[in-house]
């Protein structure tokens, strides 16, 4: 294992070296930083020219200058200074967390949703849903991200903020949204014509009802789930996850999931107390760990044999219900957050990565604020890779379903759920790890544009500055970070690949 890791890391270091060498030379020969001074008639220009040449080592040809740069990197990660005198490493360390936050969330959302939709699309091959998803995926491939971003700003931010002033949903909107929901569910479940119409009616009706209730109660002004709705949702989650994870026939798993619901509801009010008095990232992580621990203990109690799937079911159920409780807490924060002077009733921002006017010290305000600022950029950024994941997971699952082992699994009488979730789905995940890497480079490129559109002060801003100022040190710093991220993603994908696929052996030979 260690030998394998060593070999991989050596290869990746060589790649980093090669690509930075190419980029450095490319950037160095594509322009001249002294151009502005050369044309100037200022008597001081000559002296400035000499000083600039000396500080940037311009008298050394680019390939050799690269090694001067590399030498500084090796002697303690010294990225040099920008043209206006800041140390590059300071600028970078301020920008990295912002960009990583954006990229990470967008990637996770794109993977989860893309794989889910891709798999349903493959299971319903040649259905209306499948054709619809194919079209949607191609449409997203073809959308320029900066164009979508402007639309999102207008329709999801400005219009939604205007809507919050009134909070009642217009009847036309209720009708339109219900029809959309009906079409979605009808095409998803599909069947013969009568069934499709029935599902369309039911789904559309339920959506219309929910929207009307939300509108009448002015839910959007003061949202929240409350223990009762939370209970209903949790029961749904428990059954859904048990169905996907082990099948409802597994009584031990179903019972553990149900007990998890009860425990979560019993702990609802104590949890609120903890949230209010000790809110923080660490607290949430501790709560997550405790939830997983309880899940494990519950599964130990119910399952005497074959404990792993039961434990998995209980733990996932617990985590998802915990997430619901967290969402509920954020919804409770919504109304006071809206009322603060910094927000002034217009919560969805179109610009920058945080609201600097917000009173500091309230963890929930900061948390909600960060999420709201992430909202639009994350949607814009995940749209493109979302399309990729839909297409790829659909294709892979279709291929897997044609394999002999799927036929064998069916022939020995396994239920369709087991065949899909245990045999097909897991094998679909293996090749997916390889495109995560390719996608990561694309998403970094997308982040540069997204940050520009939404006015984030991250790597994208630095990059823009580096190009327009002709600042080689800054450019190489930005590249170093993005390339390292891409290379690390590559390494992680390799390791996951070898962990998922037993045919790939990780040995040091």
């Amino acid at each position: 294992m260690i030998a394998y890791l060593g070999r991989r890391i050596t290869a990746l270091l060589i790649i980093l070296f090669g690509s930075s060498f190419i980029l450095y030379n490319l950037a160095a020969i594509s322009g001249d930083p002294t151009e502005a001074l050369r044309g100037s008639t200022d008597p001081k220009a000559q002296a400035q020219l000499l000083a600039l040449t000396r500080t940037l080592n311009l008298n050394v040809p680019p390939p050799a200058r690269y090694f001067l740069w590399l030498k500084r990197i090796f002697s303690g990660f010294n990225f040099g200074n920008t043209r206006d005198g800041h140390p590059v490493s300071v600028d970078l360390s301020a920008a990295i967390p912002t960009t990583i936050r954006l990229i990470l969330l967008a990637t996770i959302i794109a993977i989860v949703l893309g794989v889910a939709f891709g798999i349903v699309s493959a299971l319903r091959q040649y259905s209306r849903f499948d054709y619809g998803m194919t079209f949607v995926a191609f449409l997203m491939y073809s959308l320029p991200i900066f164009w979508v971003a402007v639309l999102l700003k207008q329709y999801l931010a400005i219009s939604f903020n205007n809507f919050l002033a009134e909070v009642t949903i217009q009847p036309g909107w209720i009708l339109a949204l219900s029809v959309v929901s009906g079409v979605f569910w009808a095409s998803l479940i599909s069947g013969d014509r009568k069934r499709v119409w029935k599902i369309f009616g039911i789904a559309g009706g339920i959506s219309a009802l929910i929207l009307t209730v939300l509108s009448i109660t002015k839910w959007f002004a003061n949202p929240g789930l409350g223990p009762i709705v939370l209970f209903g949702l949790s029961v749904g989650v428990a059954y859904g996850i048990t169905f996907l994870s082990t099948g409802l026939g597994n009584k031990a798993a179903l019972k553990s999931a149900q007990v998890m619901v009860v425990i979560a509801l019993v702990l609802y009010y104590p949890n609120q107390y903890i949230f209010n008095h000790a809110g923080g990232v660490q607290t949430i992580l501790v709560q997550l760990l405790v939830t997983l621990g309880i899940g494990y203990a519950v599964s130990r109690y119910f399952a005497k044999i074959d404990r792993r799937p039961v434990a998995r079911t209980a733990m996932i159920t617990g985590a998802v219900i915990g997430l619901l409780i967290l969402v509920d807490k954020l919804m409770q924060t919504w109304k006071p957050y809206l009322a603060t002077d910094a927000v002034n009733g217009r919560p969805v921002p179109t610009i920058s990565e945080s609201n600097s006017l917000l009173p500091a010290g309230n963890f929930w305000f900061t948390f909600l604020d960060t999420l709201l600022h992430l909202f639009l950029p994350t949607i814009a950024l995940s749209l493109i890779s979302f399309a990729g994941y839909i297409r790829y997971s659909r294709g892979t699952l279709l291929e897997v379903m044609n394999q002999d082992y799927i036929r064998t699994a069916r022939a020995k009488g396994l239920t369709e759920r087991t065949v899909i979730m245990r045999h097909a789905f897991r094998n679909t995940l293996i090749p997916l790890t390889t495109i995560i890497v390719v996608d990561f480079a694309a998403i970094i490129g997308g982040a540069i544009i997204t940050e520009r559109v939404f006015g984030w002060r991250g790597m994208g801003t630095l990059f823009n500055k580096a190009i327009s100022d002709f600042d080689l040190n800054l450019l190489m710093g930005v590249f170093f970070v993005t390339a390292t991220l891409a290379v690390l993603a590559n390494l992680a994908a390799d390791l996951i690949y070898s962990a998922l696929d037993p045919r790939i052996r990780v040995v040091g030979s």
Binding site: S19, S30, V150, I448, I449
Partner: protein, 354 residues
């Protein structure tokens, strides 16, 4: 006994689909099968027509000079004309609103300024047409340059293997690690003022990495096949084997990935122009138009919508054509046999037996 006979008579759905599909390709060459599959792909055919129509429409609208031939465009304005800003018929306080009307119950007409006018009165239709011309030009140049380089590098490294292969593939890895937007910006910022053809050419020099990997893989498998051995035994030179025997078999992979490069290229060009590192004023590009007028979206949305719609139209059709080609070249791909066709087949089979 009855069970077995029933089993024999009733063919399964899968077998029937296979029968139909096999009968359809009987006696056809590979090229004919591919062509037939492609023509049957509805999305791809529609896209092909749309793309063709867009290209004709866009390139015929404005003046065009190729060598000595001067073609006068059918549109009355050029991108430099500055007619007076139209105000009658527009909402109060807003000048230069679009005159395009596609009301299905009323008049259909382009009007004087179908896409409106920009700040200084330039006709936006002419600007969008020029931008679309630029985007299509960039798309084809990057596709051709990237495709040529990628095929060459992939073919050499897959055919000769060994040291040549390692060197070329490491080089490919180096370039693949640099996000294309970074390479594009570095090149675009400094070569953008040389004109759009140069810009596209330089961008094409770095657009081949994915293609070369795929072509290499294809060559690695094809070179082990019997027909290559046969050619070798017959004394064919390496050159002949590559061009006459392997390349025709790899053409599917190449065409499909070139369409992918092309659809990526159009988005790359617009993104670079948007960032200000691509096509620069006074030249026009769709990305540049969007970046210039994105702030006027709330007041004069037409300045924002039309360039975007053309980008999507072009990129979407190229993507669908690529999908159709991929399906057509995929030997495992089987056409979907509809229920009707299956029923008809069953009926024929039953009549034969009865």
């Amino acid at each position: 006994m009855t069970l077995i006979s029933r089993f024999k008579r009733k063919k399964s759905d899968e077998v029937i689909s296979g029968d139909i599909a096999n009968r359809e390709v009987e006696g056809l060459s590979q090229g004919q099968i591919v062509r037939r599959r492609f023509l049957r792909h509805r999305g791809a055919m529609i896209s092909l027509i749309v793309l063709g129509a867009v290209i004709l429409f866009v390139f015929s609208a404005l003046d065009l000079t190729i060598g000595f031939i001067k073609y006068p465009g059918w549109w009355k304005y050029s991108i430099v004309d500055q007619p007076d800003i139209r105000t009658n018929g527009c909402p109060p306080g807003l000048g230069g609103c679009p005159t395009l009307s596609v009301n299905p119950f009323g008049a259909f007409g382009l009007g004087d300024h179908p896409f409106g006018q920009d700040d200084i009165g330039r006709d936006y239709f002419a600007l969008v047409m020029r931008g679309a011309q630029r985007s299509i030009l960039v798309m084809f140049i990057i596709g051709i340059v990237g495709g040529a380089i990628g095929t060459t590098i992939g073919a050499i490294s897959g055919f000769y293997r060994g040291v040549v292969d390692s060197v070329l593939m490491r080089f490919t890895d180096f370039i693949i690690t640099i996000p294309s937007i970074i390479i594009g910006s570095v090149i675009g910022y400094h070569f953008g003022n040389l004109g759009v053809t140069f810009l596209a050419f330089y961008l094409g020099l770095f657009a081949w990495t994915g293609l070369s990997r795929l072509v290499r893989g294809e060559f690695l498998t094809l070179r082990e096949r019997e027909f290559v051995d046969a050619a070798k035994v017959a004394g064919a030179s390496n050159r002949r084997i590559i061009f006459k025997h392997i390349l025709p078999n790899a053409v599917g992979v190449i065409i499909v990935s070139v369409t992918l490069i092309m659809s990526g290229a159009i988005l790359l060009e617009t993104a670079l122009s948007y960032l200000g590192f691509g096509v620069v004023a006074p030249d026009v590009s769709l990305g540049l138009l969007i970046s210039q007028y994105q702030d006027s979206f709330t007041t004069r949305p037409w300045l924002f919508w039309y360039p975007g719609i053309f980008i999507i139209l072009i990129a979407l059709s190229v993507n669908f054509i690529g999908d159709g080609l991929r399906d057509a070249f995929d030997p495992r791909q089987r056409r979907r046999i509809s229920r009707k066709e299956k029923a008809a087949e069953r009926k024929v089979a039953a009549e034969k037996q009865g």
